[in-house]
């Protein structure tokens, strides 16, 4: 356990190391969330509700989406691809720690470095737009439930990032992989559009997929759309997916590590 804590802390430090890098990463996602914000703002022009969401609810949902999207850095993909390309993966493989554990610790280290300030920025934005009405949580239970779901979502997303980063064993182009992974998770988890805006059947299916746990579940709990047993079941589904994706990552890793010898010249 100490080893993993050390890895997480190393990652935290290296995330802090380049301060330009660091501030810009946050700005980048802020640019995107602003784009969405303005787009929906324009979309709500002259409408009171879309798919049952008021403008205030949509705004709140998007804010939670921004938060969840930024708690996990994409840099772990970059880091893995880099180490595979330069052959460092062999060194990593020699360390007496579990590879997946190490990568997840790194992701959590970045969460501390990147996610916490993202949280602060989010709060600042929330406060700034509070006058135009970002909604408070619908109750104390909802607030706690949303926090639990969001925390679980961090692990879930890290696991997804890890699994997709393993694809770097088969390609040298992590930029493309990272982008399409981001596009996929962001769209299907609800970070760009509330899942309720999809056609009803599609939305129902999407809520069964692993991605929904990242944004949609915490956001709906927060807004009071998921309460009681439904909320509990949604969090259970999220937990189940987390375990499943972690396990899938292990299987993929075993397949991928067989590739190392081939790439490792």
């Amino acid at each position: 356990m100490r080893a993993y804590a050390a890895i997480a802390s190393r990652q935290f430090q290296s995330a802090l190391q380049y301060r330009g890098n660091y501030a810009l990463g946050m700005l980048s996602s802020l640019a995107l969330v602003l784009a969405m914000f303005f787009f929906w703002h324009a979309g709500f022009d002259g409408r009171s509700a879309i798919a049952g969401y008021s403008w205030a609810q949509t705004k709140t949902y998007l804010l939670i989406g921004y938060l969840s999207a930024n708690l996990v850095a994409t840099s772990s993909e970059a880091r893995m691809s880099e180490s595979i390309r330069t052959g460092n993966v062999l060194c990593d493989l020699l360390l007496p720690v579990d590879f997946q554990g190490a990568r997840l610790s790194e992701a959590l280290g970045s969460v501390a470095a990147q996610g916490v300030p993202a949280l602060l920025v989010t709060l600042a934005v929330a406060v700034a737009v509070a006058f135009s009405g970002v909604l408070p949580p619908s109750g104390i239970g909802a607030a706690l439930g949303a926090a639990v779901a969001l925390g679980l979502g961090v692990v879930l997303k890290s696991a997804i990032v890890y699994a997709s980063a393993l694809v770097c064993f088969w390609t040298t182009n992590y930029v493309g992989i990272a982008w399409s992974r981001a596009a996929l998770t962001n769209l299907l988890c609800g970070a760009l559009v509330p899942l309720a805006f999809f056609p009803a059947g599609v939305a129902a299916v999407l809520r069964w997929l692993p991605f929904a746990g990242i944004t949609d579940t915490p956001a709906r709990i927060y807004l009071g759309q998921l309460v009681g047993v439904h909320a509990f079941l949604a969090v259970c589904l999220e937990a189940a997916w987390t375990v499943a994706v972690l396990f899938g990552g292990r299987v993929l890793w075993r397949a991928a590590s067989a590739q190392v010898t081939i790439h490792g010249g």
Binding site: S9, L16, Q17, Y22
Partner: protein
């Protein structure tokens, strides 16, 4: 005008100063501080066309930095460099046509391409006529044996093959100056020999100017006629190899293994040879002396006459020894330069 001329050449790197650990990282984030690292300090160097100069010094002495300054990769912090009459950094492209460089620990070739394609691309970059290119390939095949791996991607080459490939690539355009940064590092003895033979030939037959850095002192004796020693960014010594050898590498050691040694003081036997130091090491008599002041046959004859010698062995202090003593600060070449 010398082929390479450096005057008061300086290079300082800027390095971020960061205390270790988490708090250090955070503090650096808030207030970054830098430290200047002087890698080359007021270097004066002049290399004539056709010279092979060996550049030695401990790790971090500033050898690679000097090479990068001379090749135009880096811009000097202060001072001037002239290579074939040009400023190699300002007139980078023009300078690049006339020089070549290899860095032992890192390939100049494209990792993904087969060696043959890389060479052909270089041929076109330097606009080398087809006939000369074919001839170059033949020479490289004969001496370096690169024909065996022309079609392999560079990433698949062994270190020895890669270094040979790098050398072949560096010479495609028939440069006037060839800079070599640790050309033999990590190679096995056979490849080293092959490489040195090739360098000797380039130097003697084509008159190529070769500044090279190395830690393998055999490179010096095999290839170079001039030795430059630097340490901690400063020049310690600059002179011909023969000078160094005759001034500082004069000690010769003879070792005689004797049957049933009496271990008596050998001074009596050796009287009349000149100034020698003699001592017993077990059943071996060790005699050390200045090879220019004392004649070895005289010493040998006396010992053989007086004792029952079963075996004997002769060793000269080489350049390696001198350089080691300089590194260890036991010898100051510049100060002792005046004495015989």
């Amino acid at each position: 005008m010398a082929a390479i001329e450096a005057r008061a050449l300086c290079k300082a790197y800027r390095r971020p100063l960061r205390a270790p650990g988490l708090s250090g990282s955070v503090r650096h984030l808030l207030r970054p501080r830098h430290q200047d690292i002087v890698a080359v300090d007021h270097l004066d160097l002049s290399i004539e066309a056709g010279e092979a100069v060996c550049y030695v010094g401990p790790n971090g002495a500033g050898k690679s930095t000097t090479i990068k300054l001379l090749t135009g990769i880096l811009r000097p912090t202060a001072g001037t460099v002239r290579v074939l009459g040009r400023d190699p950094h300002r007139q980078r492209v023009a300078n690049a046509r006339d020089i070549a460089a290899t860095f032992g620990n890192r390939s100049q070739l494209n990792w993904d391409l087969p060696l043959g394609e890389s060479l052909a691309l270089l041929r076109d970059i330097y606009a080398v006529p087809q006939g000369r290119y074919r001839q170059h390939l033949r020479t490289c095949a004969d001496i370096l044996g690169i024909d065996a791996f022309l079609s392999a991607p560079v990433r698949q080459l062994s270190l020895g093959q890669r270094v040979r490939a790098d050398l072949a690539a560096a010479l495609v355009h028939d440069p006037k100056i060839l800079y070599l940064d640790e050309p033999t590092v990590g190679l096995d003895i056979a490849v080293k020999e092959r490489l040195r033979a090739f360098l000797r030939q380039l130097h003697r037959e084509r008159g190529l100017t070769i500044p090279l850095t190395t830690h393998d002192l055999a490179d010096i004796e095999d290839v170079c006629d001039r030795l430059v020693i630097i340490d901690q960014a400063r020049l310690l010594y600059d002179g011909t190899l023969r000078q160094v050898r005759d001034r500082f590498a004069r000690e010769r050691v003879l070792r005689f293994v004797v049957r049933q040694p009496d271990r008596a003081d050998p001074a009596g036997i050796l009287a009349g040879c000149g100034p020698v130091r003699a001592a017993w090491e077990g059943d071996t008599l060790v005699v050390a002396f200045d090879r220019l002041a004392v004649e070895s046959p005289a010493v040998t004859a006396r010992v053989l006459r007086a004792m029952d010698v079963v075996d004997f062995h002769l060793a000269d202090a080489g350049i390696a020894d001198v350089v080691r003593r300089v590194y260890e600060r036991r010898l100051d070449l510049a100060e002792e330069g005046g004495q015989p």
